[in-house]
Subunit: 120 residues, 2 copies
C-alpha cells in the first residue's frame, strides 16, 4: 500500500519534555534512505534542549513554537521549513493554545540523542 | 539561517504536464543526505506518467488528486503520506478546484526522470 492517512497511524507519547508525541509516517524499514516522522507538542508542552547525531529536515504543519537551534532563537509556525544540522543543540516550547506539529525527517543512520543543559 | 518561510521561496513553473510547479525547500546542498521540495499542481493540472531512479517520500499539504503508482490507483489528499519506490511509474491529476500540493523528498543521488506511456 503506497498511501497512508496520517490519522490512521499510531501517535505514541514520548517520555521526554512535556505533552510530546511521535508518529512514524514512513519508517526506516520502508524508506531505503530516510524516515518521515510527525511530532506533536500539545499546547503548553515542550521538548528539552538536546542533540542528535543526525540532521533534521522539518516542515511545520500547524501551531507555533519558540525554537532554539544553537545560537538562534526563532519562532516557527505553519509552512516554515527548518534545517537542524547534526549535533546542534535544539529545543521547542509551544506558543498559544494550539498544538505545535511538524514533520521531521532523518537519514537511516544511528541517531544518538543526548539531553543537554538549557541555556535559559 | 535555520528557518525559512515556504512562501518566501521561489516557486518555479515546470515544463512537464500542465499547471505544475516546484519549490526547493531544503536543497541537496543544504541537506547532506536528502532534499525537501514542494510541488504544486494547480486545479485542472496534471503530471504525466513517469519514472524516477530515486524513491519519493511525500506528504500532501493541500488539495486532492488521482494518483497512479504502478498498479495502484488512489485518491491522495491533505495529510496523506505517499511512498513511491524508485523506478515505479507514477502520475498525478488534480480533482476539484483546489491546487494539489505536496512535499516530496528524495535522496541526494542522481535522479534520471523518464516519461512513460500512460495506461489510460
Amino acid at each position: 500500500m503506497s498511501v497512508k492517512n496520517m490519522d490512521d497511524l499510531p501517535l505514541e507519547p514520548l517520555s521526554v519534555g512535556a505533552k510530546t508525541s511521535k508518529q512514524v509516517l514512513i519508517s526506516d524499514q520502508e524508506g531505503p534512505n530516510f524516515a518521515m516522522r510527525r511530532f506533536v507538542i500539545e499546547a503548553g508542552g515542550f521538548m528539552p534542549m538536546h542533540t542528535n547525531t543526525v540532521e533534521h529536515e522539518q516542515f511545520c504543519i500547524g501551531g507555533k513554537a519558540k525554537v532554539i537551534i544553537g545560537d538562534e532563537k526563532v519562532i516557527v509556525q505553519k509552512n516554515n521549513v527548518v534545517f537542524i544540522p547534526a549535533n546542534v543543540p535544539h529545543c521547542y516550547k509551544t506558543i498559544g493554545d494550539e498544538a505545535f506539529e511538524f514533520l521531521c525527517l532523518i537519514p537511516n543512520q544511528e541517531d544518538i540523542i543526548e539531553i543537554v543543559d538549557d541555556p535559559e
